[in-house]
């Protein structure tokens, strides 16, 4: 395969990664890394470098639309970034101490568990009318958005801020240690612990993963893991895909987004378990 075919094919695969990532609130690294390593036989170090770029591209590309449409809970997202950024810094310092294969395996198990819980809760799409969460009330993290699929304004209250913030800290740490966007952990945290509507969880996760990834992107750029001829087409393709995906999310039912997310979660979990047990 010559370089031109490689760049064009890679960009096409990245469009799919970006669209999927934008809908379910993850960075698309789950598609980009296996595509690069298995399909194109690219060295894993460069695949991870491109994956970090893909996370930022999905996030910024989709969030531009979601923030404008009020699907993103801006205040909650920024509050939770306290956890993800400090977690990312902690993770950067732990890289030499923590055995990554054990972490991949553990992360895979956690994802399977949260996938199962999210699947079991698939019939509950009701919002909280009251919240006694002091941080949520003090910072006014509650929100409302117009749901295009249901044709009505959805008003919701936020709870479980301490739990959410703790999970975000762990998510940030995992991002830095494993070089992934960890939207797969952010969405369940907002959905299960904080009671945000599914589509808001996805859009807000999307909003946040860019900042988490940017925090560790410096390391990957400095280590020379971001190859322009690999990360360039990925960035361009993913951005295009994210714009398509962001149009899609508004029109999809929360239930559908949840099911797609659970499927993606299981696939990522398997991927993580494989990397954990070197299968």
């Amino acid at each position: 395969m010559n370089a031109l075919d490689f760049v064009l094919l890679l960009a096409a695969v990245s469009v799919v990664a970006g669209a999927l990532g934008a809908v379910v609130g993850i960075g698309g690294g789950a598609v980009v890394v296996p595509a690069l390593t298995i399909l194109f036989h690219v060295d894993i170090r460069f695949a991870i470098g491109a994956s970090i770029i893909s996370v930022i591209a999905t996030s910024s590309g989709a969030a531009a639309a979601y923030v404008r449409e009020r699907m993103t809970n801006l205040r909650t997202g920024m509050f939770l970034e306290l956890g993800t950024t400090t977690g990312a810094v902690t993770g950067a310092f732990l890289t030499t101490v923590v055995p990554t294969s054990a972490l991949f395996a553990l992360f895979g198990v956690v994802l399977l568990y949260s996938g199962a819980v999210m699947f079991l809760r698939r019939h509950e799409e009701h919002q909280l009318a009251e919240s006694s969460d002091r941080i949520a009330n003090r910072l006014n993290l509650h929100g409302a958005y117009y749901d295009e699929a249901e044709g009505r304004e959805i008003v919701y209250k936020v709870t479980g801020t301490r739990m959410g913030l703790s999970i975000m800290y762990v998510a940030g740490m995992i991002s830095a240690l494993l070089g992934i966007g960890s939207g797969s952990l952010k969405v369940p945290a907002m959905d299960l612990a904080m009671h945000l509507p599914m589509k808001v969880s996805s859009a807000t996760s999307n909003f946040m993963i860019g900042v988490t990834a940017a925090a560790s992107a410096g390391v990957f750029l400095a280590r020379g893991q971001v190859d322009p001829l690999i990360a360039g087409p990925v960035a361009a393709g993913v951005l295009g895909g994210a714009v398509i995906g962001s149009r899609l999310l508004a029109k999809l039912q929360g239930r559908v987004v949840r099911l797609v997310f659970v499927v993606v979660l299981v696939v990522i979990a398997v991927e993580m378990l494989q990397r954990g047990f070197h299968l």
Binding site: D5, V42, A63, R68, A215, A222, P228
Partner: protein, 162 residues
């Protein structure tokens, strides 16, 4: 009222999203003023993200086109493994990227575009700090300043770790 134009433009975009805010806006109560400010911040953040994305993708695409124009072999018989990934040295320092751009190298432009993409979320956080200052919302100002500081710190650590 400068906010009025922004508000009505948004209403048509989101459809029924205005149903709840509509009557309040006409009365222009104190809560409405706050709501409009939040709305303005949302729009500004959305613009920052969009500008960052459009500029970086334009630079990346220009760099890709330039690479293929300067190396006709890339679209001919040259296998991608020999020009991407391990074994091929690409510009990965500030100096090397600057040098590559100065000499019209496509890879330098792609790296510049990727760097702009990485900086887009950082810009977004920086803009929200000012947004919350403007909104007179001290707790959120503190939150965003903290996030910005950690973000810049970790980016600096990363770049310096070389």
């Amino acid at each position: 009222m400068s906010g009025g134009g922004v508000g009505s433009g948004v209403g048509s975009g989101v459809g029924g999203g205005d149903v709840q805010a509509g009557p309040d806006r006409a009365k222009s109560g104190p809560g409405d003023e706050g709501d409009r400010r939040v709305r303005r911040l949302e729009l500004v953040i959305s613009y920052v993200l969009r500008i960052g994305v459009v500029v970086s993708v334009a630079v990346i695409l220009a760099g890709l086109v330039l690479s293929f124009v300067r190396h006709p072999g890339y679209s001919g018989t040259i296998d991608y493994h020999s020009v991407a990934g391990p074994g091929y040295h690409f510009p990965d320092t500030f100096a090397a990227v600057a040098h590559s751009i100065a000499s019209g190298g496509g890879r330098g432009f792609i790296m510049l575009g990727l760097a702009l993409l990485v900086l887009t979320p950082v810009m977004r956080v920086a803009v929200s700090v000012f947004g919350f200052i403007f909104e007179k919302d001290p707790p959120m100002v503190a939150v965003t300043i903290f996030v910005l500081a950690v973000l810049i710190g970790s980016l600096a650590i990363g770049v310096a770790s070389r």
